[in-house]
Each structure stands twice: as C-alpha cells, then as structure tokens.
C-alpha cells in the first residue's frame, strides 16, 4: 500500500512540475536522428526558426526504439506539451492509438496519414514529393551529357519509389530518350544511414554511364553526393538544401519544406487546425533549391523549362503520376 502511495505521490509531483511547461510544443524525430542533414534536420531547423522568432522553447526527442514511439507521445501529452509534432510515416499508427486518450492535445504527423474522421485532434501533413522530383528529374535530363541519369533511394518503401517515379517521369519529359537507372540502398531502416553503400551504388551507376545522380536516401545520400563530387559528375540533394555540401557540384536539391511545416504548426500552437494538408508545388511545399553554389550549373533554359512545367502541374494541365496511389510507375520499373 505504501508503495502505491509512493507511486501516486511521485506522479502527482511530476504532474505539478509538468504544469510549468504548459502549451510548449514538442517535436519527435524519427529513427534517422536529428542531424541527418536531410529530413529530420529540416524539422529541427523549422523548430529552431520558430524558437528564434518567438523566443519560445520546445522539447524534442530522438527515438531509439519502436516501443518509444507511443511512449514519447504519451509522456509529452501528459506533461502538457501542445502541439506534439512528429516526423516520419512510422509515427502515424502510434498517433492513431494514442490520440483518443488525449483529446485536448493536438498531434501533427508529417509524412504520415491518420484518418481525420476518427481522430479530430490530428493534423496529417503530406507532401507531393513526386511533383518536386519531376522538376529535378527534368533538370537532371537537361544537364546530362551522357544521356543517362540515375537515382539512389534509401530504404525500399513506397515513399521512396514515389520520389524515383516522379524523377523518372520528369527526366523522360525533358528527354524521351533518356536512360534512368534506379537503385535502392537496402530493405531495412539501416538503409537510411549507410553512406558507404550509397557511395558504392553511386560508383556503380557512374560506371554505367550516369552523370547526374539524385539521392533520396537520408544520411546515405551524403556518401552519394561525396562520390559524385569525387568523380566530377553532378548530384542532386534531397529534403534540405544540400547544395553547399559540395559547392559547384550539386546541381540542385529537391526541397521538401518540412521546416516550414514544423514552424507553421508550432506557430499555430494549441489552436492548430487539424485535418489533412497536402503540400505540393502549388503550396510551395516542394521545390528545387537555387543559391550561389549552383548558380553556374543551372542554365536559363533549364529555369525556363522548369517554370513552365511548374505552371502546367499547378494548373492541372500535366499530372505527375503518384506511385503510392496504385503501387505502379509508368516511367520506371523497380
């Protein structure tokens, strides 16, 4: 009995200290880790931008295991953090089981989808990666001199095939005769963080004639970009702006504005509007990066062609096929 009293006393004390943190936002990174130079780091940058702008503070956690997904959500919700922002599609299922227990807390799943009918306190943010990949695919085909471009994916999941499929469609739209090579790094989550294997895949693709490589592979992409720079061909970064990693040798980066999504969610705070948001070209949710590092690589013709394509996609004149809609790709076979 005394033991139980002790438990209750401890949790009461915890609840009291937690009250102080009321309505601060919390951020949960996926297993890739906070500083992956890519997807999760974009989320981190968004949170930092929010903190710098508002002077507010937030708490974040890098997950270590599957069981921690629900645990982190519950602990943050119990401690009064609101909203609880999460990155990565693997968080959607834990959110679906936790959200009903904390109806006053808003949960955000970036890249994941939770049914808004069943869970009114969840915001699902999805990106039209295929549209952004389409644009960088066009640019890759126009920059290629060998007539072969390639793609290195991280873990072989539908999300990454969506990138690859958009990229291949874009490349073929710019040059119908282009050859597109595609490789996935692996079939386990380790594939998100294996720069050595990324480098090997890049070398193999270069030996097959590729001279522009698009890496959508989290931390693995660092190795791809490095090898491309070493062998003096072009590469394309992903999620964050990676142009500065190898100035003058990264053609562009396919931006996925996870940072903006996180910043917006934190700014909205507890009054966050829930539901489903799809951020595509029209919403500036995906884009390609232009800065001083790649200004010499991208010709005016390319920019003009890409701008035209962007308008066509936004207006609906051109639709880019979304791999995840039917698990198939017209431009590339896996």
């Amino acid at each position: 009995m005394t033991l139980i009293t002790k438990f209750l006393g401890a949790s009461a004390a915890l609840a009291l200290t937690a009250g102080a943190a009321l309505a601060d936002p919390a951020l949960v990174y996926d297993l890739g880790g906070k500083f992956d130079k890519s997807f999760n780091e974009a989320a981190y940058n968004g949170a930092e931008a929010w903190a710098a702008e508002t002077g507010g503070s937030y708490r974040d956690i890098e997950l270590q295991s599957e069981a921690q997904r629900e645990q982190a959500l519950r602990r943050f919700a119990e401690a009064g953090f609101n909203p609880v922002v999460t990155t990565g599609f693997s968080m959607s299922s834990p959110i679906a089981s936790v959200a009903p227990d904390y109806p006053d807390t808003k949960f955000v799943t970036i890249d994941g989808f939770v049914d808004p009918e069943e869970h009114p306190n969840v915001l699902s943010i999805l990106f039209s990666e295929h549209e952004g990949s389409y644009l960088v695919g066009m640019m890759a085909a126009m920059a290629s001199e060998t007539g072969t471009v390639s793609f290195v994916g991280g873990m072989d999941v539908p999300l990454i095939r969506k990138f690859a499929c958009g990229y291949a469609q874009g490349a073929k739209a710019a040059n119908p005769d282009i050859e597109v090579i595609s490789n996935m790094t692996g079939t386990t989550p380790a594939a998100w963080n294996d720069p050595v294997k990324g480098s090997e895949l890049a070398s193999a693709q270069i030996s097959q004639g590729s001279d522009v490589i698009f890496a959508a592979a989290g931390g693995t992409g660092i190795g791809v970009l490095q090898t491309a720079a070493d062998q003096d061909i072009l590469s394309i970064g992903v999620d964050s702006n990676q142009n500065a990693l190898h100035p003058g040798q990264v053609l562009t980066s396919m931006l996925k504005r996870v940072d903006v999504a996180v910043q917006d969610a934190m700014t909205a705070g507890a009054d966050l509007e829930t539901g489903v948001t799809v951020l595509g070209l029209a919403e500036n949710g995906v884009d390609y990066a232009m800065d001083e590092n790649n200004a010499d690589l991208v010709s005016e013709d390319m920019v003009a062609a890409l701008d035209a394509a962007r308008e066509q996609i936004v207006s609906g004149e051109v639709t880019v096929h979304d791999y995840s809609s039917d698990d198939s790709c017209p431009a590339l076979s896996f």
Partner: protein, 364 residues
C-alpha cells in the same frame, strides 16, 4: 581453498561490474556537461517510481528474458547462438500469420496457438544453422549471424510485398483483430480510481516469460535431455563415449534456443504493437547474449539481468525525453554495462579470486 565462494561469483562479480560501468557512465555524462546524479535520479524516477514506468521496464524485461534464455540454452551446449535476433523476427512472422489469418474466438486461444507458431518459426530458423553445424561443421557463430541478415531481408520482402495493406507506407502488417490482442497490465490491474500502468505495453507475456524461466530450470537440471545438453557442453568426446549423439544434441539445443527467441515476438507483436513492424526485435536478440552472460546462464540470474537491462532501456528513454543527453550517449551508457558485465568479466573476477584466495590462506 583455491576458489572464491559461489555467492561471490554470483553476486559480487556482477555488482562490482555494474558499479564500474556506472562510475564510467557518470564520468561520460560529466564530460558533456550534464549532472550524473540528476540523470540517475531521472532514470530511477522514470523507470521505477511510476507504475507506467514499471510497465515499460517489465515490457523490455520480458523481451530480454526470452532472448537471454535463448542464448543460455546454447551456452550450456557450448554454442554461441548470435541468431536470436533473426529467430525472433521470423517468430514474429509466425505470430502475425496466425493472428491475421485464423479467426480466433478469444485471446487465450490465440495466445496458445501463437506460442506454438512463434516457437515453431523461431526453431525452424535455427534448424538450418544447427544442421550445418552438426553435420557439416560450419561454425554456428558465422551461420547464425548471417541468418540474421537473411531473416531481416525475408521479413522485409514479406512485409513490403505481401502483408502490407494497400496504400500504407509503413512496412508493417495490418492491425491484428481485436480478439487476438493480449490484455496489458493496465487491463488487468488498473481500476477506475487507480489508473495503474496507463498506456504502458507490459502484458501477460511477462508471466509467460517467468514460466519459461521455471521450465528452463526444470529442463536443464531435472531432465535427461538437460543433462545431455550440459554434458555435451563440457566434453563432446565424453558424450560420444556415453552413447549420446552430438548431432542430435546440437540440433535439439538449437531448436529450443530458436524457439525461445521466437517466443519473444509474442511480446512485441501481439502484446505491444498489435501488428508486425519491420524492426520489432530492436536488438533484443543481441542484448540477450549479455543477459545470459551476466546471469551465468541460470534462470534466476537471467531474470535479474533482464530486469537490469529493462531498467536501462526505460531509464534511457526517460533521459532522452527530459534531458539534452544525445541518444548516442545513452547507447554508450548501455554499452558500458554490457562491456563490463559481459566482455570484461575476468577483469573483475580474477583480482577478486586472488583476493579470496589470499584471505582464505590467512584464515587457514
């Protein structure tokens, strides 16, 4: 007296090892500018002072008991089964298949069938390395570790191409039907005005793990098969002389070992996630080796070591939540404990042994 007493071997050596690991961890935490005392309090507070914390600690403990027993069976036969990870993955596949495709009326029936499925799948995955070791002399360490990678690839193929619901991103199966979901501690112990174990994943498989400890003890020290396995571990030639087939013992020991690893999946798939995810095992297969080493391959020791690692895992999660200690460092702390209790065992044992010998002489 030329040996130290049994109690010193079983209690003092691990305690000193843990203490050394703790001191080193404290220095590491100090070095990055955090307060080690505060960190330790946070771990105890989060893992042992709240019922939900216990729920997580016991959840991890359940995993480590199964994989610890898995490694221990093989140790008794002087084999190093590093394949617990892969065997547990395939065990999880067995659980998922029966849960998804057999319409169970009640969780008790589902659990019984799932135990058989998990054990059988895990055991079958261990059978191939066992056969290769027994008949072809391929070293079990090499084959089992390679089978971990094969298991991971098989599981990925099955999840991505066969079991994943249409349109889902996550390489995971659909949620298991309601009737197969195991009661958690919350379901069992919480009352309306006393919400114990809220949202924590510990479930009935914890009791199954305790039962497995008892069964393990009975098998190893009270049956002929257990005797044969232990005898085989001590001397293969003696076993041959006694008319026991080394091939049979190798294969049977590995089947039991694999079956125990497979049963770990009951906890992670049926108990916690209620679906099969890609990395449901999260390294428990490897932690099991450290647990078995630390627990001296005895069920009581394994239970206590599993509890310690459960505490480290849950405490580590609390550190990640409420401090700025990066997760890589939490892994370092966990690794230090493994290093000291598993790999550097003799560093503590030998001086201690000498000390006891010296003391013994003085007494005499």
């Amino acid at each position: 007296m030329d040996k130290m007493p049994a109690w010193a071997d079983a209690v003092l050596v691990p305690l000193i090892s843990i203490l050394l690991a703790a001191i080193l961890s404290a220095l590491v935490i100090l070095a990055i500018g955090e307060n080690p005392v505060e960190a330790f309090n946070l771990m105890v507070e989060g893992a042992l002072m709240r019922s939900a914390g216990w729920g997580y600690t016991l959840y991890y403990t359940t995993n480590f008991i199964f994989t610890g027993l898995c490694a221990a069976v093989a140790f008794h036969a002087k084999m190093f089964n590093i394949g617990g990870e892969g065997q547990a993955m395939i065990g999880g596949l067995g659980v998922a298949l029966v849960c998804l495709f057999i319409p169970f009326p009640h969780w008790t029936v589902a659990l019984l069938v799932a135990i058989v499925a998990a054990g059988a799948f895990g055991a079958l995955w261990a059978l191939i390395p066992a056969y290769l070791q027994a008949k072809r002399g391929s070293h079990i360490v090499i084959t089992t570790i390679m089978f971990n990678f094969i298991a991971s690839a098989v599981l990925n193929y099955v999840l991505v191409n066969l079991l994943r619901p249409q349109g889902a991103m996550d390489p995971a199966t659909a949620r298991f039907p309601e009737a197969t979901q195991l009661p958690t501690f919350q379901d069992m112990f919480a009352t309306a005005d006393n919400p114990l174990f809220r949202g924590s994943p510990a479930n009935v498989t914890f009791f199954l793990a305790v039962l497995a400890c008892v069964a393990f003890w009975f098998l190893m020290w009270r049956t002929r098969l257990g005797y044969e396995i232990r005898a085989f571990g001590h001397s293969e030639s003696a076993v041959k002389y006694a008319g026991i087939s080394p091939v049979r013992i190798t294969i049977v020991a590995m089947l039991i070992s694999g079956g125990l690893a497979g049963m770990m999946a009951l906890n992670t798939t049926m108990g916690e996630a209620e679906r099969l995810v890609m990395n449901a095992t999260e390294g428990a297969g490897f932690i099991g080796i450290a647990v078995a080493l630390m627990g001296r391959s005895h069920p009581v020791g394994i239970f206590l070591a599993a509890l310690l690692f459960g505490f480290l895992y849950q405490g580590g999660a609390e550190l990640a939540l409420w401090t700025n200690i990066p997760r890589e460092l939490i892994t370092v702390i966990q690794a230090l404990v493994i290093l000291f209790t598993g790999a550097l065992d003799n560093m503590v044992r030998m001086p201690l042994e000498r000390l006891f010998v010296a003391l013994g002489r003085k007494d005499a």
